[in-house]
Symmetry: D2
Subunit: 376 residues, 4 copies
């Protein structure tokens, strides 16, 4: 980063408020941002660092100020060490960015509701919004983007307030842009629809597209464009870490699987036979393996098969997208955009707008980049 | 097909001249075309039968008249039975389309050069062109598209005339549109460049994109769009049949592999480490298995891996594309288009024009469909 | 087969009574036996046709006489044609063995209980035993082996009589040797224990080992012998056909999965983390795909992974083992052996005796071959 | 380790002389041995630490003294850090065993021949033998086992002395037991046959069985025991590290592949169609991926496929076997055994004795354990 950029970053700083601020994704995002600012590593996996985004006025990585909510107590520097031991972060990185991690950890406020919490939903929302305002005041950021990166919730019972929606409501109250990177309800709660529309802030979601569904969003269109008839698309996901445990609960997995199936139905033109399993395999730690088996018919009904095996690290796949989204939402907010940012389907399994083919989503993302970069 | 379409097909018929007319791809194309005309099977795998191509004036499948060159003697009905025994064609199909196969076989002329052939290249070309003109006269077709679907040739020595180029020259001489569906030289012979340009016919090639490279043309862009750093892309192809034997020869495989590597270099932005093997495995018959192993880096250099296994039937993948191309070239010829049809990159590993990402190639194909359908 | 063997086969014939006589496995076994007797195909997959079994006095394939129970009405020749259309049988085979299929079909008796059946369990058993005795009388076979190859039942409620146990009881009543090739209860019903012991007939089971578990029974010992620490063994099975639908019911899958897990616990020395999924994928027909993902630790805790993908045809894998078992049980019966044949663990997921490593099971099978071949 | 064991280790110490002492395998073996002695990690992957070997009088790990030859200069502590950065060793291990690594490194002598070396083969051998005797004198070890773990050599031209054979000859001259863990020639040089026989030392080889071939040695027997007909067994190995580069040279790969093919021919009863590729993929570092594709016929010729993907760390797989072999050879030497130890086929791709099925090899290994443990 040049000296000029640093100066500009000092002038206008942007808040990134992570719901689930001490989780793996948040820890990787904060560590990674610091590593890139210090030029310790190249920005692999960050779409907003590619040339197409050079001129759209995104906040510099060095201008991002991290804070967040969490119900966990393990501080970020310690979490970073745990991730390094698993190979998610380079072994030398936690020490190199220890200061930035500690600073962010100092800005983490208690989340909720915790067991025994007697606060009503409105109180919790109000408390969260107060935290957001205090953060902005204390750090002097020009605006804040709230990003939900906490563990997936079970689908809420009818009429109930899931925690993710309370945080989302707090973001609206505090005038913050909002991103839901998880399959949890967030802003999609029916009681928040009107508020979201009138809030004047931009938002995006939901459920970051990091592995199996990313693949499906390029393979589905391929079968469709070639007029090959997919007869069954089956998948198994093995993952450890917190998300493995959360998603092995069928109720929590339901929302995630809905997103996966939507991609296939959208790109193939009709729903397709086949199940998706999510297994909790603690031995895999933060790594996940997704196996897909696609039975399809070719010319004259000849039966063929494609199999894919994706072995990735969940936090490493998610963290750069979280940074991308925080920057894009901050810039959109600055430019006065509000409501759902339909051009961000590229990032999500279950996006706000139609269309699940990755290539088209990428094209739309580039049009957003153009809009963000236009002189006002 | 409606009665009108049949009537129109009778009025204007289109020749499809297959170089390698008794091979697996040709046999599957002729059998399949007959099966679709008789509505025995749905047109799976035929892109030109999707709604996007309904209004672009393509010749009806029922209007196609097949002939071709081959050095082999096994007649098409017998080849169809062999393919049915391998599961490439439904077991009942050869009997059902026996008449059409026999008719096409009756229009096959001896190819060349055969061992001991003393004809000079110009003589061979002239003989082939004569065959094309005789075919047109005998069948009354309005125009003919020559499609090379013969076994892959070794790369020719400098200054030598490979057979595929002699057939291509004959097509130009006889005023026929030309498609090179193989990695052989065909129209890309330096001595044919001027002739091709002045011929006034449209042409397209080369090397049909039917499996591993098709996959690569959607996966490569995915990695690029997500800014993931591919470190090594390795592949192994197992195939039996004639192509397995031909391509196990490193000289013959060279052209094919160049196409595969071009896709990666194009879509990833730079050449990437990794080898491609082609093994002849006669036990697989007409089936092929392609395994790809892609080592890539995510955020902060985390190492991840994608593997794909594609198990397909080569002839079933190729045949509908051959029919697509014959129809598209015939219509282009009818509309007066000439020279390389750059919008057909969708079909080829090593296309005439730039750009290897499937999604973009599909978009360009749709623009061609629009042009072909416009009122003159 | 020599003339002598044919003569001997005529003198002493052996009954093979298939419960589920019109299913895929039975159809394949009957068709295949006829094809081998006529020397139309080599005996691939039949262990009892290898040299180690040449001298143990097994009944010749040509001496086997098939009959059975079924609740389905589709006759065997028709089922064989359906299987040939799916590629399970060679397309020419049903016609070639039409006579043998029709003869066997003529000996199929109605199974039960069918919906609306008012017979008590004892009555059903008595009726089934009567069928067995009539078969023996009509055909003149020296003895009969009853083999359960019907679809997997749900695990029965406490105190209930599953159909498989009624058939097993009938076998004992009629003095027939018995094999349970499925995960259903069969002879393992607590109320049959005393009867089985006193019956004087040999029996074996349960749940034929044909794919994923076969693999596990060689891979498990490999990890154990090399002192590698398996941390999680996960698996997904995709299968169409009747068994896919039956096993997609978690209650029916429970017994099957117990067998699979037993193999791992036995060979690895302790139960291991990891789930097994069974998906019904009708598009696969009689074919099944089993994917296994094994996460293991090497020296100093280094994490490694083995994946296997097994693509097989269930009936083709099962049928030769059914013929093997019928021959082995018939010979054991002839030699006066009775009770569980502990040396047959080689064939089963959930065998009667200890020990799940395939190599040891094979060694024990060879000792049985020796015993069967000894002069009395 | 108890104090007694330490005392005993002090009384009788055993030398382990590693040819290639600064390579990945050697570094992992020395680091790992120290980690196990200090009880920092469990002995995963060490067969000689399983109960079956408890009473056969093997030297304690704490009694092993490491030295060796190498032409490389990077000291062992530095190599260990490099391996830890790649995830081959736990990140904390190099620091924890720094003393032991430095001590071993101090006993490394220059290998040869190096470029420009003018010593004749006999001189090199004599120099190496002198190094072995000096090591024994300096450390007071009771006996030394020489283990070749250097990079694979190209197959030597006729009459030439490959370096591996010079080291092997030196071991014989110095009265040391010898293990060839690589596919290089070593003791199999025709000119060493008589010397080996008369030397009075035990020896074993060659080519440690650590991945693809290990799998093949359990899968091959499975197909044979089930009478399934393997039609083609194809494989691709991707590996980085030094061995990747060495084996990408077809001449060097020839010996290795011969071992792999031998396993299949031995266990299946006849050679089988199919190629094996070894690709150098530096991006994989010390990790290797082996993909196997096995096309086989079941009953009635039905075609089926098994695929395996093995992702392992070469050094982690090899190092515990190197420690096993050093202990077994030392004990055998102590017990007066000499000549090829035929019971060690379990460890090798290309063993001295017949028989390639892992289960049988394991049984033979246990008989050796019994012999070694017998009172004299």
């Amino acid at each position: 980063m040049t000296q000029d950029a640093i100066a500009s970053a000092e002038e206008t700083r942007t808040g990134v408020w992570l719901v689930g601020a001490r989780g793996s994704v948040a820890t990787t995002a904060v560590s990674g941002c610091a590593a890139l600012v210090a030029e310790l590593l190249p920005p692999t996996g960050m779409v907003t660092e590619t040339p197409a985004f050079a001129d759209c006025g995104l906040p510099a990585l060095g201008s991002l100020v991290f804070g967040g909510h969490d119900t966990a107590n393990t501080p970020l520097p310690k979490r970073a060490e745990e991730l390094a031991a698993q190979g998610v972060l380079p072994s030398w990185l936690p020490a190199a960015v220890q200061g930035e991690l500690a600073a962010a950890d100092g800005r983490v406020r208690p989340g909720g509701p915790v067991p025994g919490d007697t606060r009503a939903p409105e109180e919790l929302t109000a408390d969260f919004a107060t935290d957001l305002r205090s953060f902005a005041r204390a750090t002097g950021v020009a605006r804040t983007v709230v990003v939900n990166v906490s563990s997936t919730e079970p689908e809420p019972a009818h009429g109930e307030w899931p925690a993710s929606s309370l945080y989302a409501a707090a973001a609206l109250q505090a005038g913050c842009a909002y991103v839901n990177f998880t399959p949890s309800t967030g802003l999609r709660h029916p009681a928040l629809a009107a508020l979201a529309e009138s809030s004047g802030v931009p938002y995006a979601g939901r459920d970051g597209k990091t592995g199996q569904t990313l693949l499906r969003s390029v393979l589905g269109p391929m079968f469709a464009q070639r007029a090959l008839a997919v007869r069954a698309w089956s998948g198994t996901n093995l993952l450890g870490g917190g998300d493995g445990a959360a998603l092995a609960d069928p109720a929590a997995a339901a929302a995630k699987n809905a997103g996966k199936e939507r991609v296939l139905a959208d790109t193939l033109g009709a729903p397709v036979e086949g199940e998706v399993h999510i297994d909790d395999v603690p031995a895999l730690g933060d790594w996940k393996t997704a196996w897909d088996h696609i039975a399809f018919d070719g010319f004259l009904g000849t039966r063929m098969i494609l199999q894919t095996t994706w072995q990735g690290c969940d936090s490493s796949l998610a963290a750069p997208l979280v940074l991308d989204l925080a920057r894009l939402l901050a810039r959109a907010h600055e430019r006065g955009l509000s409501g759902p940012l339909n051009e961000l389907g590229f990032y999500f399994k279950d996006p706000d707008a139609e269309g699940s083919a990755l290539a088209e989503q990428y094209t739309r993302l580039l049009t957003l980049a153009d809009r963000l970069g236009e002189p006002r």
